[in-house]
Symmetry: C2
Subunit: 247 residues, 2 copies
């Protein structure tokens, strides 16, 4: 406050409320079980700020639309997915995070509510919209991203690592039927090699009783064929809210 002599209109502008547009940006993960790679869905921007750069799939929230509705809408525009896990991630709302904001701080601010999503690669058909600027990127070969999307993506990645430890999100990215080593590979690619020994991981999970053996065997090149398992959500129910079932 620069003193009582200043005119009312010269008062710090900071007391004016900011006007916002609200965007929704999705961090959508999947996994390539064959190549043991964690994937994230990126789109090539075809409009102006950062035109031609890769970014997280996002949109601005429309009138009458909830945040979650908007998140689902972007998703539906980019992929046709049967299964889908979606939860809110974090809200990024500092000033000057979007170049569309005017310099003088009088125009609209752009706030981003990020969402975290998981889909099965096989069940997710990418919708090539025109120039087909949409692709699954391996997490270890990321391009430069528009806006602060790299920060958002890292936030989502951390969430994924945490959720793997205590919640059954792995079965949202794995195919419906998977082998125990598919499951183990997923955990090692996301969490690193040294989280557990394969045989211990295996027997621990089997003892819990929510993985049911279909009896079907599948052979991947050399070696003994593996059993295909299925996640039994009902049998998992008692483990909800119980910490650290998976590690």
């Amino acid at each position: 406050m620069s003193g009582r002599l200043s005119k009312k209109l010269a008062d710090p502008v900071s007391h004016q409320l900011a006007d916002f547009k609200v965007g929704v940006d999705n961090v959508i993960f999947s996994v390539d079980t064959d190549q043991h790679r964690l994937l994230v869905l990126l789109v090539l921007r075809d409009t102006d700020p950062y035109l031609g750069q890769w970014s997280l799939p996002g949109t601005l929230v429309r009138q009458g639309e909830s945040l979650e509705d908007a998140a689902y809408r972007v998703l539906a525009e980019k992929i046709r997915a049967n299964n889908l896990y979606l939860e809110q991630l974090y809200t990024f709302g500092g000033p000057r995070r979007d170049p569309r904001e005017s310099e003088d701080s009088y125009g609209d601010r752009y706030l981003s509510v990020s969402y975290f999503a998981l889909v099965r690669l096989m069940e997710a058909e990418l919708i090539a919209d025109g120039v087909s600027g949409i692709a699954w990127y391996p997490m270890n070969q990321l391009p430069h991203l528009a806006f602060d999307h790299h920060e958002i993506l890292q936030y989502g990645y951390r969430r994924l690592r945490n959720k793997l430890e205590y919640s059954p999100v792995a079965f949202e990215v794995l195919p419906e039927l998977f082998t125990l080593s598919d499951l183990y590979q997923l955990y090692t690619t996301v969490l690193g090699e040294n989280f557990s020994d394969y045989s211990n991981f295996r027997s621990r999970l089997l003892k819990l009783g929510f993985l049911s053996d279909t009896g079907v065997k599948v052979s991947r090149g050399a070696g003994r064929p593996a059993s295909l398992y299925r996640f039994d959500a009902d049998a998992f129910a008692p483990f909800k809210d119980k910490p650290l079932v998976f590690i």
Copy 2:
């Protein structure tokens, strides 16, 4: 899409972007060690929507202000606190969550980014602003709350319960110096009686080595006097990211 004959302006309104005001609402917890009660800070609304009702302390974000800045500003307006833990909680942004939104969905939407905060009761002096409509409420004697603040509060309460299990947030609400039974009581009041036996809880925590005994004894009525302990943040460092240290 109602067909290609409709004029541009008659197009579904839903494609119009929503305009937002963004609010910040804080769920501020503290604990009364003497009476073993978990407290939440509430304020009596003195302006129009829900005037006279209790609500979480909140404000609308101003020009040039970040979300976190706004969260700190509300806090600074309500309490003078030495210590303070603050983190983002969740964003509530559905349409019709604020009565100030106009019926026809053309005016501004009101979005709330909620924050989760912890303060030490003794170090937090409440700022009586005029009518002094500000108070610590025990979590088991909550009044009716304005807006969707009850939902937000429950979300914050769940976050507190989770964080107690794997992060040292307890030491953000306890006094600087505390007895081991203060700590135990906090855990039982928030988590329920049956999370652990006192003597096991005690020896487990002491073995970890980040609680340092000050040697000072304090007597609370009858019984043997207890040692005052202090949380040693440096000694805790190696336990960061390691799951479930406290339970």
